[in-house]
């Protein structure tokens, strides 16, 4: 400060010079009344004062009259411990050292801003003891809010010799300073600029040695208070190499548990978190960031876990997320990742490969909550650099189930973020090779996406680890979910929220009757999507020709596999997948596959008593989901093959029990009952729900899949179901059955008449329907074995009985 040129005021720091004149009214308090001393222009003035050899600065608030610039209305020195108050937007009020109360009322708030800024600068550089307080009326209008804008801040003692008293004072100070932003910021600045933390750590070591319990608790409380400042730089300072051990040492003492001491230091030193190096990490900056990341997590999850409130927790999470982003960014440019990937193309020993898988799993896990764009970038890099080699090692050569679980988890994370990532990069690769090596595009070879499905299917069918099986099913259903394959071709932002919610995907969704057909329609409307549409078809065709026959082989009667020898839990998984493809895939393809391979017949057998109840009920649910599709081909196939019979055997055995089996089957019957009226075009409004005449009216037109099913069920199992008549929907089932029978009798007569008048629209309609059926059955005929042909002819017989 003293080095500035005293002769030329222009040389004073730009931000700290005389201010522009601002229009203002001056008031002075006399006899308890504010007296107007005139209007003028106010400037903040800096004067150099020579005192012997020393040149010091003084500051003044000066107002010169508007009428006569030479006349000075006010000249007040900014000095001592004067407290300036800025009241609302335009008023500055203070009492000078002579006891005069002075007020400046500015014309504009900008003028007031200028002079307040001047006072702040004076406080910083010339008169430390003055202060500026902002006073505003509070939101509710009662009382006022005071906020320190500038002023002297008391800071903890930096005396080398700390003791109980200095620590006690320091605790009081950091606590009080946390109330006002200004004081808090000054304190933060102090912590960062001084080596106060080191001072505390030094004293901690002395206190611990000397068993000064009081000091230890004070130190711990001071550190915690500073953590509550919620200031990133302070938190990062605490976890750097220099401070971390001291800080967690201090935090081992906790006033909440005065008789206990945690052993964080010992834990960090001995048991880990041990930093395992697969290959040397040469980038020391990165190493530091990674260490900081883990230390912060240790603080958050262990040392401070009971202490952090939501606000603190969020700032910890923010810092952690930031470090994660930084680490993941760095990984992609550092040769480190290439070296890791290379391990898998060498003969390095398998323990190194295992650690490399663990490492990749850790970093992919770390990436989970990053920004989607960052994730896409990282996963793409991983795939480009050879992630498939890693997976193929894990799935083909690695014997340890735990590592295959990690590898599956890793792949799930990536495909749940974006399946297309894997597809697109595969496409890129095929293109590249086609150009470079003049390779024929290998359209008949199994593509990487099918390879992955094939590997996963193999694991599911052969691995006995229940956890792995579940993960694989999750991966398969993600890979096979049509939504994932429909995202924009660049795959930046596909949304997988829907998939994560179907972990247990026998969720009974009653509104999925349109399945994939609806999705295709919406694509057709958009020409840009036709390419994606085409690719999707190719992808699923490949799945049904290459993978599905293998994956679902245990469910095919032709396979002659004795189901009783198979693991019931594997069958549960396969059944869930069948439910999934039946409800989520293009109806035409999945139905063809399911019916042609007689899978529903196996399903029906699985309801039988030789299997565990969990499996039997999963099979019932599978039927429930398929029936709920309201698809006439499924319905007729199921009815004509008597596939629901075992369900009612199961019901019979549990009829007087109250258990999950009865609930599960009751739910199925409820669905049948509801749909008997629902499907007839009549909405399920309150009227229809409670008024049977309304229902019978709608039934008049309705001879739908469910009324037929209802008739079948009541006809065959009415005596069993009657026992459940306490449920209203069961009583309705009987009523529907009665009405259906009546309608049929009427229709018998009607159709006879219809035959004579060919123009009748109803007949045309029913003819068209019959035609449809025939067409689809002939589809079945061409591919199904003779056994199913019998089914088909039987259908038509049924159909004949009903319609004519």
């Amino acid at each position: 400060m003293t080095s500035t040129n005293t002769n030329n005021q222009n040389n004073v720091d730009e931000s700290f010079s005389n201010t522009e004149p601002k229009r203002v009214k001056v008031y002075v308090l006399e006899n308890n009344e504010w007296k107007d001393n005139g209007t003028g222009f106010c400037t903040g003035e800096i004067r150099d004062v020579e005192e012997g050899d020393e040149i010091t600065k003084s500051a003044y608030l000066v107002v010169s009259s508007e009428d006569d610039q030479k006349e000075t209305l006010l000249r007040s020195k900014v000095e001592g411990n004067i407290e300036y108050q800025r009241q609302e937007e335009t008023l500055i009020v203070w009492k000078d050292l002579n006891g005069n109360d002075i007020a400046l009322s500015f014309e504009e708030s900008i003028g007031c801003d200028t002079l307040c800024e001047f006072i702040i600068q004076v406080q910083r550089h010339i008169e430390n003891s003055i202060s500026l307080i902002s006073v505003k009326s509070s939101d509710n209008g009662i009382g006022s809010v005071h906020e320190i804008v500038a002023g002297p801040v008391i800071l903890p003692s930096t005396d080398k010799d700390q003791n109980t008293d200095t620590l006690y004072d320091a605790l009081k100070i950091v606590n009080e300073n946390s109330i006002y932003d200004y004081m808090k910021n000054e304190t933060i600045e102090f912590i960062l600029q001084s080596s106060y933390i080191n001072l505390l750590i030094d004293h901690f070591h002395r206190a611990e040695k000397g068993k000064m319990i009081k000091d230890l608790f004070l130190l711990s409380t001071i550190i915690k208070t500073l953590i509550l400042y919620n200031q990133r730089d302070i938190i990062e300072l605490m976890v750097d190499d220099e401070h971390i051990m001291g800080i967690i040492g201090i935090l081992e003492y906790d006033t909440e548990f005065p008789n206990l001491k945690a052993n964080h230091r010992e834990y960090l030193k001995l048991n880990g978190p041990c930093f395992k190096e697969v290959i040397p990490l040469e980038n020391k900056d990165l190493e530091l960031v990674v260490k900081k990341y883990f230390r912060l997590k240790f603080l958050k999850d262990v040392v401070l876990v009971r202490f952090l409130d939501d606000n603190n927790l969020n700032s910890f999470m923010d810092i952690i997320l930031d470090l994660k982003t930084c680490i993941i960014d760095w990984l992609q440019t550092d040769p480190f990742l290439d070296k890791i990937m290379n391990i898998f193309s060498t003969d390095d020993d398998s323990s190194k490969k295992r650690d490399a898988i663990r490492l990749l799993h850790q970093y992919v896990g770390m990436s989970k909550d990053l920004d989607p764009i960052d994730k896409t970038k990282f996963y793409r890099t991983l795939v480009r650099k050879g992630l498939f080699n890693v997976l193929s090692y894990a799935f083909s050569q690695e014997k340890d189930s735990n590592l295959r679980i990690l590898a599956t988890d890793l792949i799930i994370t990536i495909i749940e973020h974006d399946i297309l990532l894997i597809h697109n990069i595969q496409n890129e690769k095929t293109k590249d090779t086609a150009i470079d090596d003049n390779f024929p595009p290998a359209s008949d070879a199994i593509t990487d996406d099918m390879k992955l499905l094939s590997i996963l299917s193999t694991i599911l069918l052969s691995d006995k680890s229940p956890g792995l099986m579940e993960q694989v099913v999750q991966a398969l259903s993600t890979l096979l979910h049509p939504d994932g394959c429909l995202a924009g071709t660049d795959g930046e932002f596909s949304n997988f929220s829907s998939i994560s919610s179907i972990n247990g995907f026998d969720v009974n969704d009653s509104d999925n009757s349109y399945g994939m057909d609806g999705i295709f329609n919406s694509i057709d409307r958009d020409n840009n999507e036709t390419e994606a549409n085409k690719q999707l078809k190719i992808y699923f065709n490949k799945f049904y020709s290459q993978i599905a026959p293998f994956l679902f082989k245990p469910l095919m009667p032709k396979a002659n596999i004795d189901c009783s020898e198979l693991d019931d839990f594997l069958l549960i998984h396969l059944l869930k997948l069948i439910s999934f493809i039946a409800t989520e895939h293009t109806r035409l393809i999945s139905r063809k596959f399911i019916l042609e391979n007689g899978i529903l017949k196996t399903l029906s057998q699985l309801i039988g008593p030789t299997h565990i109840l969990q499996l039997r009920l999963t099979a019932v649910r599978c039927f429930k989901n398929i029936l709920n599709l309201n698809d006439k081909y499924y319905h007729r196939y199921i009815i004509s093959n008597n596939l629901v019979d075992p369900i009612f055997e199961l019901l019979k055995d549990n009829l007087f029990e109250d258990n999950l089996a009865t609930s599960c089957i009751l739910d199925l019957l409820n669905i049948v009952s509801l749909n008997c009226t629902l499907d007839s075009g009549k909405e399920n409004d309150q009227n229809a729900k409670h008024n049977l005449t309304e229902k019978s009216k709608s039934l008049n037109k309705a001879k739908n899949n469910f009324t037929i099913l209802n008739k079948h069920i009541i006809g065959k199992y009415g005596s069993i179901i009657k026992e459940l008549s306490s449920f209203p929907f069961i009583r309705e089932m009987f009523e529907f059955d009665r009405i259906t029978n009546e309608i049929e009798k009427e229709l018998d007569i009607e159709t006879d008449i219809d035959r004579i008048s060919p123009n009748d629209t109803d007949t045309n309609k029913s003819d068209a329907t019959t035609e449809n059926c025939k067409r689809s059955y002939s589809e079945l005929e061409t591919s199904e074995n003779s056994n199913s042909n019998e089914d088909v002819s039987k259908f038509e017989l049924d159909q004949h009985v009903v319609t004519s």
Partner: protein, 307 residues
């Protein structure tokens, strides 16, 4: 016996092998699948509210209320999340269930789902303790089998959250296929999510799932089903329990000093043969390890880190 050993290990907060956890979960499935959506329980019985992974407080609960060897219990759900020992707490209850099948009834809470546990701690806890999610998956599978409610002596309805506009009689609950992730709406969701409040009709819940219901709904439900009390949990009560609507509904909360910082006491409600209500209040006590040394409950740090 193997089970006794497992119970001892769990009480001490010790690590169980994945295989052992799988066995427990499988046995539990087999037991729970035979239960109805609403199970019937006889008096005398002790009703317990949210536990939320506070293993040591769960041990205190058993100690203060007679213990599973002598007493029948209904737990109203929310066994997991928030606390640091979700896995041990839930498995301990399952082990007791296997050991004393008629002494323990477990009802599903809104935290017993895949989605919620991924956010509120149980999933992370398993990842920290095992390095993979298998054990979490096994437990989630059991969640799907938990019943949705219980009825004591045909007079007291026990449920985690509360009532649903879709449920006027108990029969309607029976026709739900409960083996699924808790849906975002409908009867099953409401039973686990709803709260009683000072409202005169069904109202939107600030939780975003379930409903708020008032004395009218409670009166009607009690009357229709011939009940005298709805016992539920789901909301923190500083005093441990709170009766509402002329004693027609009670909230029971059994996690003292919730989240290790809320400063509340906990309660369990004992119903005797005359259906008299007796509340036992208990506080958080200094947790101890297996050999009686005091410990500070904390999360287990992650295992190895790779550079």
């Amino acid at each position: 016996m193997e089970l006794e050993k497992t119970i001892r290990l769990l009480k001490e907060g010790k690590h169980l092998s994945e295989e052992r956890v799988y066995d427990i979960c499988l046995k539990s499935q087999e037991l729970l699948i035979t239960e109805g959506n609403v199970t019937h329980v006889d008096t005398p019985v002790t009703i317990c509210g949210d536990i939320h992974g506070q293993l040591h407080d769960l041990l205190t609960l058993f100690e203060k209320s007679g213990g599973v060897e002598k007493t029948r219990y209904v737990f109203l759900g929310d066994f997991v999340d928030r606390g640091f020992y979700s896995l041990e707490s839930f498995l301990l209850l399952l082990c007791y269930k296997i050991r004393y099948p008629d002494r323990i009834t477990l009802i599903r809470g809104n935290h017993e789902t895949r989605q919620i546990t991924k956010v509120y701690g149980f999933y992370d806890e398993v990842m920290r303790k095992y390095g993979n999610s298998n054990v979490w998956r096994y437990c989630c599978e059991v969640f799907d089998y938990l019943s949705l409610g219980a009825i004591i002596n045909n007079r007291i309805f026990c449920v985690h959250g509360g009532l649903s506009p879709d449920v006027s009689t108990i029969n309607e609950i029976k026709a739900i296929d409960r083996k699924q992730e808790v849906p975002h709406e409908g009867a099953m969701c409401d039973l686990l999510w709803s709260d009683p409040d000072d409202v005169d009709k069904w109202s939107l819940s600030p939780r975003g799932a379930g409903f708020l219901f008032g004395s009218n709904e409670v009166e009607e439900f009690l009357h229709t089903n011939g009940f005298e009390l709805i016992a539920r949990a789901h909301q923190l009560v500083m005093e441990g329990y709170k009766e509402m609507f002329d004693g027609g509904l009670v909230t029971v909360w059994s996690a003292p000093n919730y989240c290790y910082r809320c400063g509340n006491v906990a309660a369990v409600l004992k119903i005797d043969d005359q259906l008299e209500r007796n509340y036992t209040i208990f506080d958080a006590v200094q947790p101890q390890d297996g050999v009686g040394n005091a410990i500070i409950p904390t999360k287990q740090p992650q295992m190895d880190y790779f550079l």
